[in-house]
């Protein structure tokens, strides 16, 4: 049996006996066959000595069982690493940061405790996936939407705590921002409720976020301070209709006014959906389009030449073929006459860009018919699915799939100038490091106030290739920091490196987090090293 670091055989055996007494023998996993299922399926260290392993997993079914597990873990100083559904693939999966930890697998805590249609909120446990919540709402015909990330099998709570995002109305796309109220088991087993939940018998736990006094919810995201066992979320009232409209612009420099107008219109709430933003030279604007259909051969040939791309040649191609250079599909939710008027106003504003062309999209009445569901980008309609795995899975355009990917995701300013700078920096780095980053990549628009570039680094089962990609990833972290760009989220393999870049005031943020860590978790048993925050006794090993 594998042992957690620093724990004796007898203490581990005693802890396991306590865990079994708490959750039942069937829900404590210690055999290698079972614990191997907690490896990170997309580990960048796959098969290498540095790959993270778990010594055991324990799967409670209730908050009370989580509390009891934490008390036992404190008694024997067992490192614990909670996961919700374990599907944080590309950002760490189900494996702990501290190798040898016991995984606290919360998948069995899968109750949907409340969905309030009138006030549009839900209260769920961590094992509830987006599929689960969607099906619950769908079966009852409730007129509320869940904002989903790309893969629908993830945990609603887990995704929010890792600060993931989705695709519908801007008010709901930032999943942590859309939460309201938490229940948290602290490392010592004590139970805490945040916001209005701190008031016994509160009637507004899911309706008013901040309660009274310092608002501490953020401390439990990307955290090592507590195990979230319940969390409320604001849901989107089902709109009457959906409309999209696409603008195409033809000069590379048109990106600057396009971003400026796009941002202004979004902050004025002229459109409320997520703008789909990309280079029309590459094909469609939907995620995965360029994976499903390779870009035109002429464009690929221009991009393949060494050095900076020949922008004039690309502009010529876009003009001659009528594809344009950049495009943005604006998305609207609401009553038909309102959203049609919003699109008309958006077109007026975007007409300031010389030569801009517009295409009116189809208006869909909600709820969608079964046939319409099959021809739309489902997440835009709050329908969870797994179609994003087109990226990476075997296909005619990708006959030799990899074993996964790790996401590199820096936040950059929401301006065209910043995009150009990032494209140049990433393009130069990509050529030097030999990683596949297109110089026409555009950032994601999940967040209203900033862009996020999301780039996938492949995972293989070849240690030499993985090592090269890990080094490239770390170099990109450093290059981004030099330009004032930081990652919003990263896999455990890089959390120390990323946290080290948030170094203002001689790492004042990290030191503050460590002060909190030492106070709240004096034995340092919970999620050691998560997001670069280590307990006192392990700080010497920090990268």
């Amino acid at each position: 049996m594998r042992l957690p670091p620093g724990v004796s055989q007898s203490d581990f055996a005693a802890a396991l006996t306590g865990f079994e007494a708490t959750v039942g023998k069937d829900w404590v996993f210690t055999s290698q066959e079972d614990t191997d299922l907690y490896r990170d399926a997309y580990s960048p260290f796959w098969g290498e000595p540095e790959e993270k392993f778990v010594s055991a997993a324990v799967a409670p079914a209730s908050t009370e069982e989580v509390q009891a597990v934490m008390r036992i873990a404190n008694k024997y100083k067992i490192p614990i690493y909670p996961i919700s559904t374990g599907k944080n693939l590309g950002y760490g999966g189900s494996a702990p940061v501290l190798s040898g930890s016991v995984v606290l697998d919360l998948k069995r805590m899968n109750r949907i405790l409340e969905v309030d249609e009138k006030n549009a909120f839900a209260l769920v446990e961590p094992g509830v996936s987006y599929f689960d919540l969607y099906r619950y709402i769908d079966e009852r015909g409730l007129k509320v939407w869940v904002d989903c990330p790309d893969p629908g099998w993830g945990s609603v709570i887990g995704n929010a705590l890792d600060r993931g995002g989705g695709y519908t109305n801007a008010l709901y796309r930032n999943h942590f921002d859309a939460h309201c109220g938490m229940e948290v088991v602290l490392p010592n087993g004590e139970l805490l409720r945040t916001g209005m939940g701190a008031l016994p018998g509160a009637k507004t736990w899911q309706q008013y976020k901040s309660g009274f006094g310092p608002w501490i919810d953020g401390l439990f995201s990307q955290t090592s301070l507590g195990v979230v066992t319940k969390m409320g979320f604001w849901l989107m009232p089902q709109p009457e209709a959906y409309l999209s409209g696409t603008v195409t612009v033809f000069r590379r420099d048109d990106l600057i006014p396009l971003v400026e107008i796009m941002t202004r219109l979004e902050n004025q709430e002229i459109y409320t959906g997520m703008p789909l933003f990309g280079s029309t030279l590459l094909g469609g604007l939907e995620p995965g389009d360029t994976q499903r259909r390779p870009p035109p051969a002429e464009v690929s040939a221009i991009l393949a030449r060494p050095g900076e791309p020949d922008w004039a040649a690309l502009e010529r191609f876009g003009r001659d073929k009528g594809t344009g250079f950049w495009g943005c599909r604006f998305q609207f939710y609401g009553p038909p006459k309102v959203i049609q008027a919003q699109w008309e106003y958006a077109k007026e504003q975007l007409s300031a860009i010389p030569g801009a062309k517009f295409q009116d999209g189809e208006l869909f009445r909600i709820p969608l018919s079964a046939a319409d569901q099959e021809r739309v980008q489902k997440v835009v309609f709050g329908i969870p699915n797994l179609s994003i795995f087109f990226i990476g899975a075997r296909s005619d355009t990708n006959p030799n799939p990899t074993e996964g990917h790790m996401w590199f995701s820096p936040i950059i300013p929401r301006t065209g100038e910043a995009v150009f700078e990032a494209q140049k920096v990433f393009g130069d780095a990509a050529r030097e490091l030999g990683v596949p980053i297109s110089p026409l990549s555009l950032p994601g628009t999940y967040w209203r106030r900033a862009f996020i570039f999301i780039m996938g680094f492949p995972i293989t089962h070849d240690p030499a290739v993985n090592k090269k990609n890990r080094e490239a990833f770390k170099t990109m972290v450093r290059i981004c920091a030099e330009h004032g760009w930081g990652e919003y989220r990263t896999a455990p393999a890089f959390q120390d490196e990323v946290m080290a870049t948030y170094s203002f005031g001689d790492h004042a943020l990290r030191r503050f987090n460590e002060t909190l860590k030492d106070a709240v978790d004096p034995n340092g048993i919970l999620s050691a090293g998560h997001y670069g925050v280590w307990p006192k006794h392990l700080r010497g090993g920090r990268a």
Partner: protein, 113 residues
């Protein structure tokens, strides 16, 4: 809307129960239910199912791309892929798909052998 196994109660049953089946057809029915819940989101029919598309790209029609249409699958083959994964498909833990659920999926996908 697709008819799917749903809701919190179904989720609890799927994750917690260790079913004992009186009749083989009960196991097949359970296997179909678990397949719908866990597998069909990627291996179902129609657009937007990358598991199905990947098997089409792998076999080019030599085997059906839909797992439910296969006549060659053995329960142990199903078990291997669920517990080991393949390319971007991860493996599944026992808190997600229990051994009994996995036996039922295997029996369901092997029913045409």
């Amino acid at each position: 809307m697709r008819a799917l196994v749903g809701g919190a109660v179904a989720g609890v049953v799927l994750a917690v129960a260790w079913p004992v089946f009186a009749q083989p057809q009960d196991q097949l029915a359970h296997g179909k239910q678990v397949f719908q819940y866990w597998c069909a989101t990627c291996h179902g029919a129609g657009p937007g199912h990358p598991g199905t598309d990947a098997l089409q790209a792998k076999y080019h029609g030599a085997q059906p791309a839909l797992l439910e249409d296969r006549t060659d699958l053995k329960p142990e083959t199903v078990r291997f892929f669920v517990r080991h994964g393949v390319t971007v498909m991860p493996f599944f833990r026992k808190t997600e798909i229990s051994d009994a659920d996995l036996d039922a999926i295997g029996a369901y996908l092997a029913r045409r052998r």
